[in-house]
């Protein structure tokens, strides 16, 4: 019974990821796609947590941290690129 509920939760997260994938593909502007990709990363974090319960292991919990950090830094880089047009600012020598 517990496993069935966990599988249902995993399926719901997958449904959510596919719905967000529609926004990544269609999304009329670049910030739309960045927001949708960030949300996909956040949903993957909770899917990993459910999988680690289903397999009764704690070895996947590092992946949660790493995915969180990667999603955050990716979103920061996207927003900086959208706003300024470059990611790493250099001092102009003129």
């Amino acid at each position: 019974m517990k496993e069935i509920i966990l599988f249902i939760a995993l399926a719901l997260f997958m449904v959510a990821i596919f719905l967000i994938l529609y926004r990544v593909i269609v999304g009329p502007s670049m910030p739309d796609r960045a927001i949708a990709l960030d949300t996909i990363g956040v949903n993957f974090i909770s899917a990993i947590a459910i999988v680690s319960i289903l397999l009764t292991t704690t070895a996947f919990l590092e992946a949660i941290l790493i995915l969180g950090i990667l999603a955050f830094i990716g979103t920061i880089a996207f927003s900086k690129y959208i706003e300024r047009g470059d990611i790493i600012e250099r001092k102009r020598s003129s």
Binding site: L12, T39, F78, S79
Partner: protein, 134 residues
């Protein structure tokens, strides 16, 4: 039903609640009209979904294995801190790169503050060009 089993059920039900919240936030992300409302759906309800799901996982692992997972607590705190920050940054970038608001939005006061001077400059250039042509 022993106590630990009840606590495990609490964790499982929290996870299911988080999954339902996540689907609701995805529906909002698909159906809302413009970037800013979509960021609202994506940041608030999706963050809540992940927090509830990770807390349920933490409770389940704690009760099932007797293992307090510090990495999971770190993940919870990290998601809780960074998700609103990234949504705010994306919204700021969207406004500064002039993504339009949805039709039917209310007043836009930031537009006069951010882009007002440019509009004035463009208007004076138009006037100068008009004068030159005549």
């Amino acid at each position: 039903m022993s106590v630990s089993e009840v606590v495990e059920w609490v964790g499982v039900i929290l996870i299911l609640l988080g999954a339902i919240f996540s689907v609701i936030s995805a529906i909002g992300l698909v159906r809302l009209p413009d970037v800013y409302t979509r960021a609202h759906a994506a940041s608030k309800s999706s963050t809540l979904a992940v927090l509830v799901c990770l807390i349920g996982t933490f409770i389940h692992i704690w009760s099932h294995d007797g293992y307090v997972s510090v990495r999971l607590i770190l993940g919870i705190i990290f998601v809780f801190i960074t998700a609103p920050v990234s949504a705010h940054l994306i919204c700021r970038a969207a406004y500064r790169s002039r993504v339009p608001l949805a039709e039917g939005s209310g007043e836009d006061e930031l537009k006069a503050v951010l882009f007002g001077s440019e509009n004035v400059v463009v208007a004076t250039e138009d006037i100068l060009e008009h004068d030159r042509n005549n």
